[in-house]
Amino acid sequence: MTGIDLSQKLTDFTQQLVNGVAAGTFYALIALGYTMVYGVLRFINFAHGDVFMVGAFAGYWLTPLLMPHFAGHLAPFGICLVLFLSMAICALLGIVIEKLAYRPLRTQPKLTVLITAIGVSLLLEYGGQFAFGSDPKPFPPLFEDSTLEVHGIFIQYSQIIVVGVTAALLVALSFIVKRTRLGLAMRALSNNATAASLVGVNLDTVISFTFGLGSALAGAAGILYSIYNPSIAPLMGIQPGLKAFVAAVLGGIGNIPGAAVGGLIIGIVETFVGGSSFSSYRDAIAFAILIVILLFRPAGLFGRAVTEKV
């Protein structure tokens, strides 16, 4: 009897874990953008969650436009094209936001930039509502989803695709950051901006590139999120954006692998809380984690504490 109970519990646990990992990938992808921008500019890009929303809407607009040309065996190429074009649109948006709103304020106090970022965030949210209306829209299905059963654990194909694409993007990102000149420049800038510019790193280019890269990842998260939860609305970016920020802080802000791990942790914890008797506190748990982290280990799980020089 107890044996059956135990195996049932184990199955439930694994099922929750699977769902949690899938949910965590979105947070991880968004958190990467927060962390990279923080790395180079030392400020929180409040509007980042809304770039994620724009990614979802780009997919909503591109899918009916492109998918009819990719029937049958070509469908995976169509999906990739939708994904890449949405990422490109978001990258462009990120670069434009930085250029118009943040660059003129680079020498201003950080608070001024933060307030501007809140403004940009509101503009995207309510501009989106203005343009698309506030009612949720059904995201067109990119492929036929079905469920796989492994030892009593149900895995959706969309979950596999979401996790697979995220893993591929993470590999690509780590290649860019570690093996390319721009990646090197990015790391140099986040290490010491003044020294980097002294040795000839073009700050403007690198900052634009960082915004583009982070926003592209947020755009990808938008598409993957909509495949998984096919209902999109202009305000959909607010909560995932805030929680992904928590994920970035949890992993140690400025730390790229940390952001990915932090995202997965937040996704898993949230799924477990959602499945427990405290399910109605699901939306508060990320913030509780944030407060605990900032009180006890403000540098995050993988970050190194920085002593402030006066």
Binding site: F43, I44, A101, P104, L105, Q108, P109, K110, L111, T112, V113, L114, I115, T116, I118, G119, V120, S121, L122, L123, E125, Y126, G127, Q129, F130, G133, S134, L242, F245, V246, V249, S280, Y281, D283, A284, A286, F287, A288, L290, I291, L294, L295, P298, V310
Partner: protein, 339 residues
């Protein structure tokens, strides 16, 4: 005579008398207008109290709606469920009602102040954008907790609250808030708040207890936000957790920034301006002179605030009236440099 005009107590008394007179005459005003005017007064309290935290002390908080929610729910719960016995005990009639209303407002304010203490403590370790997110998180946590509290109907909203908030209460409390905050800023405490904002390290080196001032700013700011919440609950008669989400905090932040951080007069004016602008924008779809494509703005008024925020930050980061000493402003060093 000149001394009289410089005395804050004189202005406080005058404001209270005017509020009482206006309250007596308010019977002739259309209910909707009256409601909006009351909300404007409540928004003054919110903006002036947030200005104490954000403007004078330089601790950027995005959680004001959370404090307001606590005040609103505590005051509404006490006046609806717990006050009947007390009302009879006090002998009934309007004097008892006054005592009761002051009591529930204070209770709401005090509980919000306790929450402010809880938020103020992490603020000792955090700065700038981190603090902004933590306070935002606190606000959201408070909202989720209220949603899960059955005593106040949780997510279905809490209705049937008596309409005790008259013009006198809304503007009387606003006057008291302005009086307390301006008196505080002109006192030793005020110097403390301002030094924390301008240069925390230098302040600490001079032996100023910066911890004390930061926590004090949060506790006082939260107290007044709680009172504003209580007034709001008794003005609308129905409250719901979604009415205290972080959009509300942002709206108050916009008031503070528009008025100029660290400028009570400017911030009060901005609160009035934005309340009326917000209500006016609701009616935009009904005006024939507004082109068709602009009409959805009635439901998406935050677009206007976002444009106000961005253009202010790019063109005039010290706010409309910030940096003007003539307006009783206390511009920060950065604002002085920028202006």
């Amino acid at each position: 005579m000149d001394r009289l005009f410089h005395s804050k107590k004189f202005w406080l008394l005058l404001a209270l008398v005017l509020a009482a007179v206006a309250s007596q005459l308010s019977g002739h005003i259309n209910d909707y207008y009256l409601y909006v005017i009351k909300i404007a007064g409540i928004n003054i309290i919110l903006a002036v109290s947030l200005n104490l935290i954000n403007g004078y002390t330089g601790q950027f908080s995005l959680g004001h709606a959370g404090f307001m929610a606590i005040g609103a729910y505590v005051a509404a719960y006490l006046s609806k469920e717990k006050s009947a016995g007390l009302f009879h005990l006090l002998g009934g009639g309007s004097p008892a009602l006054v005592v009761l209303f002051v009591g529930v407002l204070l209770a709401g304010g005090l509980l919000a102040a306790v929450a402010g203490l809880l938020v103020g403590v992490p603020s000792l370790r955090l700065k700038g954008d981190y603090l902004a997110i933590v306070t935002l998180g606190f606000g959201e946590i408070i909202r989720v907790i209220i949603q899960n509290t059955d005593a106040v109907n949780g997510a279905s909203g809490y209705g049937g609250i008596a309409g005790y908030t008259t013009l006198f209460w809304a503007y009387g409390c606003a006057a008291v808030t302005i009086y307390v905050v301006t008196s505080l800023i002109d006192s030793t405490y005020g110097r403390g708040f301002l030094t924390v904002r301008d240069d925390e390290v230098a302040a600490e080196a001079m032996g100023i207890n910066t911890t004390k001032y930061k926590v004090l700013a949060f506790v006082l700011g939260a107290f007044f936000a709680g009172v504003a919440g209580g007034l709001y609950a008794h003005a609308t008669n129905y409250i719901h957790p979604s009415r205290f989400d972080f959009q509300v905090s942002i709206l108050v932040v916009v008031m503070v920034i528009l008025g100029g951080m660290g400028n009570t007069a400017g911030v009060s004016f901005a609160a009035l301006l934005l309340t009326f602008l917000d209500e006016w924008l609701r009616f935009v779809p009904k005006y024939s002179f507004v082109p068709e494509f602009l009409r959805p703005i009635g439901n998406n008024r935050a677009i206007v605030y976002s444009l106000v925020l961005i253009s202010l930050m790019l063109l005039r980061p010290q706010g409309l009236f910030g940096g003007l000493r003539a307006f009783g402003g206390r511009p920060s060093r950065q604002a002085l440099k920028a202006g």
